[in-house]
């Protein structure tokens, strides 16, 4: 059987005021798919962090666009946040993504927390950044079907 994937694409101004619109869309799609409240809350944080990075770092010169794609299948939701801004050093933070568990208050840098959260809250996170072509963050959350079998 060929797995059917349905795709929803939204394109928004890459500004902070629109990130909550992305969260609202995510909520609608994820709840329709049967994700739990907690899973949806986790995804809300992850998707917002991806959008925040597009807003903060992608477009240094004027406003740009961020495109969010939801790929809906029976066993997973794949979310892609894409911008066409300059590729940015921020994504090098991916390597430096870290929590604060081993740190003292005086040593803390806030950068990197967003990426750390994305990784911690989703099943898979992939960042593709190409100079001049923007950045694409692909995040997967699997639908836990065992829950329905209980």
């Amino acid at each position: 059987m060929i797995e059917e994937v349905q795709t929803v694409v939204i394109s928004l101004p890459a500004t902070a005021e629109y990130v909550d619109i992305v969260r609202l869309n995510l909520y609608g799609i994820a709840s329709k798919m049967g994700f739990s409240y907690e899973e949806i809350e986790d995804m809300k944080v992850a998707i917002s962090e991806a959008c925040n990075n597009a807003v903060l770092y992608a477009y240094k010169h004027g406003n740009g666009v961020m495109e969010v794609t939801f790929e809906v299948s029976s066993d997973a939701l794949i979310i892609t946040v894409r911008d066409e801004g300059e590729s940015f050093d921020m994504w090098n933070m991916a390597d430096a993504a870290a929590s604060l568990h081993d740190k003292e208050l005086s040593d803390i840098q806030v950068g990197g927390l967003g990426f750390y959260l994305m990784q911690a809250l989703m099943d898979e996170v992939d960042v593709v950044s190409e100079a001049g072509k923007g950045t694409k963050v692909v995040m997967t959350k699997r639908l836990n079907i065992t829950r329905e079998l209980v």
Binding site: P13, A16, E17, Y18, V19, D20, R23, E38, E41, K44, V45, S48, E49, N52, V55, L56, S99, L100, H101, D102, K103, L105, S106, I108, V110, L113, G114, Y116, L117, A120, L121
Partner: protein
């Protein structure tokens, strides 16, 4: 788009007996972070009053918001001034635990 930020995030503040408690409502994210930072500044720098953040009605926080809490922590810590977080909702506590910020917070026991 003109958005009414007040619909999304709001605070009200009660100061008494040497404590200022700031009740946070709604979603603290990138779009309201600058306003919140500005609003809370005088309370953060007031060394003589203990600062309490009540998160009971806070529905959402992102890494920007967590970053603000960290900067408050650092500032209060360096002044040796009291700073407490109280009534943290489960989902937000999970983010605090995940990021490792929890160990820096003093939870108000009598809340």
């Amino acid at each position: 788009m003109v958005t009414n930020k007040n619909d999304k995030f709001a605070v009200n503040t009660i100061c008494e007996d040497g404590y200022c408690t700031i009740y946070m409502h709604g979603e603290l994210d990138l779009s309201v972070a600058p306003d919140f930072r500005k609003m809370i500044e005088p309370f953060v720098t007031d060394q003589n009053t203990k600062l309490v953040l009540n998160l009971k009605e806070l529905e959402y926080i992102d890494s920007t918001g967590i970053g603000i809490l960290l900067s408050i922590l650092k500032a209060r810590n360096s002044m040796n001034a009291g700073f407490y977080i109280e009534e943290v909702p489960g989902q937000i506590q999970k983010l605090f635990d995940m990021t490792g910020i929890t160990k820096f917070f003093t939870v108000q026991e009598n809340s």
